[in-house]
Amino acid sequence: VLYSIAVAILSLALAPVYDGLERKIRAAIHTRIGPPILQTWYDILKLFTKEIVVPVGGIWYTLVTALELLTLIASSTILLHISSYGLGKTALLEAVTFIVLTSIVTTLAIVRAVSQNNVFSIVGGFREFSLMLSAEPFLALSFLLLASGAGSLASKSIATAVLAISSYVISGRVPYDIAEAEPELASGVNIELAGPLLGLATTSSVLKKLVSATLTALALTSFVGLSGFSSLMAVVIATPITWVTHTIVSTILGRSRVDLAIRFLYVSLFSLSLTLVLSFGLGL
């Protein structure tokens, strides 16, 4: 329990710092100075000092937002727990729990968005829903296969590729930030949020990025075959590197459109997953 609490606190503390690093790197690519690395922390703290403006939906809405954050913390904690003994040696129950928690996070985010009587929030929520339907099944498939430890190097590589793409999608970065898409939906799923509620949503958002980066880091480090503390350390070191890679990818791309994004994800992830399943089925 103490370990889990420590991991949760560490996740909450580190994610905004990584996000600050992302902003700094993006600014550097843009040839801007950018905000300080701790800016995301300052933003979140400032938001929590503001008055609470509860949108339509009242306390229930607040609970959903808080629950989303708690689930993400749990999800992040499980992921680091899995890291401590390597992805290929994961107990099935833990892997399934992680997948279920990820789905709960997505569901809560969608419920939060569509429960508002605001068309942009609703459109954003349904965009998120479409996007998640195109990515999460593949994320679940690849994660469970990697967690099982079965398969050849080739099939593990394909599973890692599927996991990397689908986990990038759940991070909500460009080109898949269509649920928020500022020029189209005026912040979409977050349009009704302000003050502490926006603080909760912002924390959730950076934690999602942390989970996304940790997932890819976990899959990549599993190739080294480490276990125990060295495996955990490898993931802890690989996570910010993955985060930086995500940052660079998102900075050099533009936003997609919901139909284009879904088409691309289905085509790429479905064909990769089909190859993956066939390679497992044929024992390659």
């Binding site: 068309v119 609703i122 898409a181 005026a186 997609s256 139909d259």
Partner: protein, 553 residues
């Protein structure tokens, strides 16, 4: 005047339809038609290849005892403007509308109706420019209405609140205030309605006040736009000089050309950044705006200002370009040339840009012509209309340049037209500096402008800007009419944003399509109202309705 024989044949046809020739100038023909015959005359003009630049209402009761509507057509192949005047008695103020034959006259007729009280028959009418609470029967462009008068507000029945889908009063995609109604099925846009003019500033009326002389009105003109104010100042000087009838020094022509082209470079780069932001490509946005600073610095170095340059004056320009400044401009042009070519390559090669822009915001050539679209919007639909080439002014007749056109008619075409035009502008600036003659940069002109009419026009970054001035022998304009290019291009927006057949418009395409005409409005408004077209009804969406619609899709 080019093709004089063709023009005289056209005029003969118009005379046969009841038009009377009032005056023929080198580049303008002034005709008069009765309010009954105006539609037939306009139809014949339009059929002969003329396009409608704008129309203007003038309260001429002091001069002719009548109200008047001026339709300004352009016959570019003949190199003339045809100004068609219709006189309307004050006691029975109506005229036949030309909109059934010339759809581009839609908004300018409504503007005349709102501001001058002339009714147009044979078309649908509605209030366009005046706010909802403006009293009936009060027409701000009539001379008895004081420029600083504030009529009492009239409370009307409140419009139904379009909650459920509020976008405003501000929307990130709309940098200025306007209002759209998008008719959608799921994410597919099937129709659109527009309501603008929320911040009508009454600048034309202000210019008629006793406070301003022609030269002072120039400063107001320059403040029409925060991006291309120089073109408005230029057009007003052009129209005024047209009435005065004096040639300005050649060096001033070249300096004006340099000013106009530097402005085009900064405006197109600004637009490219905004367009990149609309499709979420912020890196391109940052790079372009960073490089745009170079041209802004050059403009500041040259004129002393970054935005309102105060360069133009009636009779020439207020600033010369000494040799050392010319060299600095050339140096920046070299740097920009390289950068802009890189951006062009990026726009052609980058998959994200192509996916979001190819086949989006289609405006077919025939639609662009019918709606009298102007500038890059028209040229991206294959219409080679460019005032600089069609009616050379300033030094454009002495500097070779290419009129850039593309024929894919989509957002990509508009993007490429602007990038290529930036390169052309760089070339024009270089050439103008190279060829610029020595000599004075302005002449003295009388404060009192003789009675007459003048038309000034140039190719602004967004398209043709046109200014019409009616002078009455005083030092103040009797009537000053401005038509900015956005007014002409906005009429094309519903065509671009309406799905038809295989052409599907998504909600996500709306910001970049709207941005593709490079709109310049003034700030506000709010809602996008979603309406079910299958039933033809509009309603306030509830959560459950929206959920049902999405699940259905």
């Amino acid at each position: 005047m080019k093709n004089e024989s063709v023009l005289s044949n056209t005029v003969k046809v118009l005379e046969g339809l009841g038009a009377v020739v009032e005056e023929v100038k080198d580049s303008e023909v002034y005709l008069r038609a009765t309010r009954e015959s105006v539609r037939a005359v306009a139809k014949a003009l339009y059929s002969s290849g003329a396009y409608l630049r704008t129309c203007a209402g003038v309260d001429e009761r002091e001069l002719s005892g009548m109200l008047a509507v001026y339709y300004i057509f352009g016959l570019d192949e003949q190199g003339v403007d045809v100004v068609l005047r219709v006189l309307v008695p004050e006691g029975d103020p109506w005229s036949a509308s030309i909109v059934p034959d010339v759809p581009a006259a839609d908004w300018c007729e409504l503007e005349v109706r709102d501001l001058l009280g002339i009714d147009f028959r044979g078309r649908l009418t509605k209030r366009l420019v005046l706010p909802e609470d403006w009293p009936d029967g009060v027409y701000p462009l009539r001379k008895e209405f004081k420029y600083d008068e504030k009529p009492s507000r009239v409370l009307r029945e409140e419009l139904p609140e379009e909650a459920g889908v509020p976008v405003g009063p501000y929307h990130p995609a709309l940098h200025e205030p306007e209002y759209f109604e998008l008719y959608v099925e799921g994410e597919k846009v099937v129709d659109i309605a527009y309501r603008g003019f929320h911040v009508h500033r009454g600048i034309e009326k202000l210019a008629e006040s006793q406070r301003f002389t022609y030269k002072q009105v120039l400063y107001i003109a320059e403040r029409i736009c925060g991006i291309c104010g120089i073109v408005h100042a230029f057009c007003l000087t052009q129209a005024t000089e047209d009435i005065i009838g004096k040639e300005i020094p050649k060096r001033a022509d070249y300096i004006r050309t340099i000013g106009l082209e530097l402005n085009r470079i900064h405006s197109h780069l600004l637009w490219l950044g905004v367009a990149a932001h609309e499709i979420g490509f912020d890196t391109l946005f940052m790079y372009v705006w960073r490089d745009r600073e170079m041209v802004m610095d050059v403009i500041e170095d040259f004129t002393g200002n970054r935005v309102t340059y105060a360069l133009m004056t009636i009779g020439g320009v207020r600033r010369d370009i000494p040799q050392e400044k010319a060299e600095r401009i050339l140096k920046v042009m070299d740097l920009l040339d390289e950068k802009v070519r890189k951006y062009k390559k990026m726009c052609l090669d980058e998959r994200t840009i192509r996916m979001r822009c190819d086949g989006v915001g289609i405006l077919r050539k025939e639609d662009a012509i019918a709606l009298c679209a102007v500038g890059p919007t028209a040229r991206a639909s294959g219409v080679p209309f460019d005032v600089r080439a069609d009616d050379p002014h300033a030094a454009y007749d002495e500097i070779p340049f290419r009129v850039v056109t593309y024929d894919t008619c989509d957002v990509t075409a508009r993007l490429l037209v602007r990038i290529d035009e930036t390169l052309e502008s760089i070339s024009i600036v270089r050439e103008a500096i190279k060829r610029m003659p020595s000599g004075p940069v302005r002449i003295r002109v009388p404060r009192v402008v003789p009675t007459g009419e003048g038309v000034g026009r140039t190719e602004a970054p967004r398209g043709e800007v046109i200014h019409y001035v009616r002078a009455n022998g005083t030092e103040r304009p009797f009537r000053w009419k401005v038509r900015a290019p956005t007014l002409a291009n906005l009429l094309s927006i519903p065509v671009m944003l309406t799905s038809r057949g295989d052409y599907v418009v998504n909600i996500a395409d709306v910001p970049i399509t709207f941005a593709s005409i490079d709109p310049c409005l003034s700030c506000t408004d709010r809602a996008i109202r979603f309406i079910d077209v299958s039933s033809g009804k509009s309603w306030v969406w509830t959560f459950s309705q929206i959920k049902r619609m999405y699940w259905r899709d």
